[in-house]
Each structure stands twice: as C-alpha cells, then as structure tokens.
C-alpha cells in the first residue's frame, strides 16, 4: 500500500518552487529570449548595460565635470552653454545625455531636478537613479512643494534663496552644478571631485562637505 508522507511532499514542493523564478522574472526572461532569438536586440547589449550600470558607471563622471567647472571658468561656460557636447567630449555620452542642460546653484538660487512623468535621468554621468527619484511621492511633490521635499533631505533653504525645479524629459535632462564649498582653495580636480555627491547634482543636497564623499 502506498504511503503518503505529507511533510515530505510539502518539502519537495517547497524545494521546487524555491528555485522557480518569480512571475516578473519569468516575463523578462521570455521577453529577452524572444527579442534575441528574433534578432531584435543582441544579448551582449543587455549584458553590457547590466554590467556597466551595476558595477561601473556612477556619479563620479558627473563629479568630474563639476570639479572642473569649479577650477576652469572657460570650461564652466561651455558646460553651461552646451553640456551635451561636453559630455560627448569626455566620452560619457548615452542617449539619456545627448541633450543635457547644466544649471548652477548660486548664493541666491537652488536648483532641483525631477522627472514628473517617469524617471528620466542623466544615467551616463550619474549612474543608476536612486529609487526615491523614481517614487511617485518625489515625482509629484518636488514640483508642488520643493522646499518641504528639500527639508526631508535635510536641506533647509533660507527664504531669500529661490528654488528652480527642472522637469526632465526624454529629450532633455539636467545636471546641477553645486556651489564650491569654502576651504577647498588650491585643491586639484581629483580632490574636488571626491567631495561632489550624487544628490548635490540632483539638487537634494545643497552644501557639500569638505570631507571626501
């Protein structure tokens, strides 16, 4: 007579399902395998992107641009007038930064970047966007109540400092050039770049620390 060991069967069932990818993971796998099989995309393109944005490309690229803009006035002018070309000159271009606008913080103006539609972001100079940048709360509130949002990031702006909010699109992305902090006179570009944070280039941070980021 066959025996029925419910514990054993339940264990085997859990074992099988523990190795089964989640439903969305299977959907992506199906999509990717069909796209590759039909010659619509190359699997290398997908693998390269994952490697680049998981491990290699981060905000240091943007930080280098900012650091140079602090030490080289002609470069700063070029960055402010044609950031897309500057990014190309550095070899940092991607289709997210083909059209890029740099905006500078001043003692009287603070800039904040958002994408109210989805999550447009200058990936090729800042790396992957933080999840809060893609959240519904940030996308909706950065435009409506930027000072409150900034406060949640620890930035309290004096009333006499104006806020400009830039709404990114697929066609135009933004890079904030934060103010150079005092106490960094005489520093070289590498030293300066090390204190430029991702959030300062999005605008959710205003004052940079002179300690390396």
């Amino acid at each position: 007579m066959p025996t029925f060991d419910s514990k054993k069967i339940a264990h085997a069932h859990r074992e099988v399902h523990a190795h089964l990818p989640s439903d969305p993971a299977l959907r992506v796998k199906a999509l990717e395998s069909l796209l590759v099989e039909k010659g619509l995309v190359a699997s290398e393109t997908i693998d390269n992107w994952i490697e680049l944005y998981s491990e290699r490309i981060g905000p240091m690229r943007g930080a280098r641009l900012v650091a140079r803009s602090w030490t080289d006035p002609a470069f700063r002018d070029r960055l402010l007038s044609d950031a897309g070309q500057v990014v190309k000159d550095y070899g940092y271009q991607g289709h997210a930064t083909e059209h890029l606008k740099a905006v500078e913080n001043t003692p009287g103006v603070h800039n904040l970047v958002v994408c109210t539609l989805c999550s447009c972001y200058p990936f090729s100079i800042l790396g992957m966007s933080p999840i809060w940048y893609r959240s519904a709360a940030y996308r909706a509130r950065a435009v409506k109540e930027p000072r409150v949002v900034l406060h949640e990031f620890g930035v309290t702006l004096p009333e006499d400092v104006g806020v400009r909010v830039w709404d990114s699109t697929a066609e135009l992305r933004y890079l904030v050039i934060p103010e150079r902090p005092k106490g960094t006179e005489g520093w070289d570009e590498d030293h300066l770049a090390a204190i430029v944070t991702r959030d300062s280039m999005i605008g959710t941070q205003r004052d940079l620390s002179v300690e390396p980021a």
Binding site: E15, H19, L20, P21, S22, P24, A25, L26, R27, V28, K29, A30, L31, E32, S33, L34, L35, K38, L40, V41, A42, T45, I46, D47, W49, I50, Y53, S54, E55, G58, P59, H95, A96, L117, C118, S119, C120, G127, M128, P130, I131, W132, R134, S135, A136, A137, Y138, R141, V149, E152, F153, G154, T169, A170, E171, T197, R198, D199, T204, A213
Partner: protein, 105 residues
C-alpha cells in the same frame, strides 16, 4: 515623506533583483537598436506608472519595476500570445531542471 537612500552605497547594490536590471537593460537595448524612441519609452513608462498609482499600488521599488516591465512588454514588437507561451516554456524548463543545472528551453 520621502525616504532618502544612502548616496554612498556601493555601486554593486544598485539593483535589488536581477530582473530589475534585465528590464531596464532590455528597454535600453530596444531604444539603442531603434525599435523605440526615448520619448516612446518615457511615455509608456509614465503611463504604466500612472496606471499603477490609480490602481492603488504601493509607492515601492517593485511597483516601479513592474510598471517598467509592463511598459517594456507594450513597446516590444512581439506578439503577446507568443510572450505568454514563452513564459510558460521557461517555467516548465525551471520545474523540470534539477537545482544547480543550467536551465535551457
């Protein structure tokens, strides 16, 4: 209340799940190969995020990536029935493959 993350987190922790990265990478590849424009991708993603908000989905990382996957499926020049069949094939392949062995169709 927005929860700022750690802006100094190591780059290796950018994606919570492999499928998150695969979704964005596939979208990038579609645009890169000229099968969609950046604006089409942004519009499809924006529409999927708006639908998720209307449906009361929580404002989480998973919701974002599920919307991205929905947008990707809507943009990819593929037959939805074929996509569904392929997903079942992968599911069956995982179920019949012993753990530790490469999973193939």
């Amino acid at each position: 209340m927005i929860a700022p993350d750690d802006p100094f987190a190591p780059l290796g922790h950018r994606f919570a799940e492999p499928w998150h990265a695969q979704t964005l990478a596939a979208a990038h590849a579609l645009v890169d190969e000229g099968h969609a424009t950046p604006a089409q991708w942004a519009d499809a993603l924006g529409a999927a995020l708006a639908r998720a908000a209307v449906q009361g989905a929580p404002d989480t990382e998973d919701t974002y990536y599920l919307a991205a996957l929905e947008a990707l499926e809507s943009l990819a020049p593929l037959d939805p029935a074929q996509l569904s069949d392929r997903k079942s094939e992968w599911r069956d392949a995982y179920l019949r493959t012993p753990h530790g062995q490469p999973v193939t169709l």
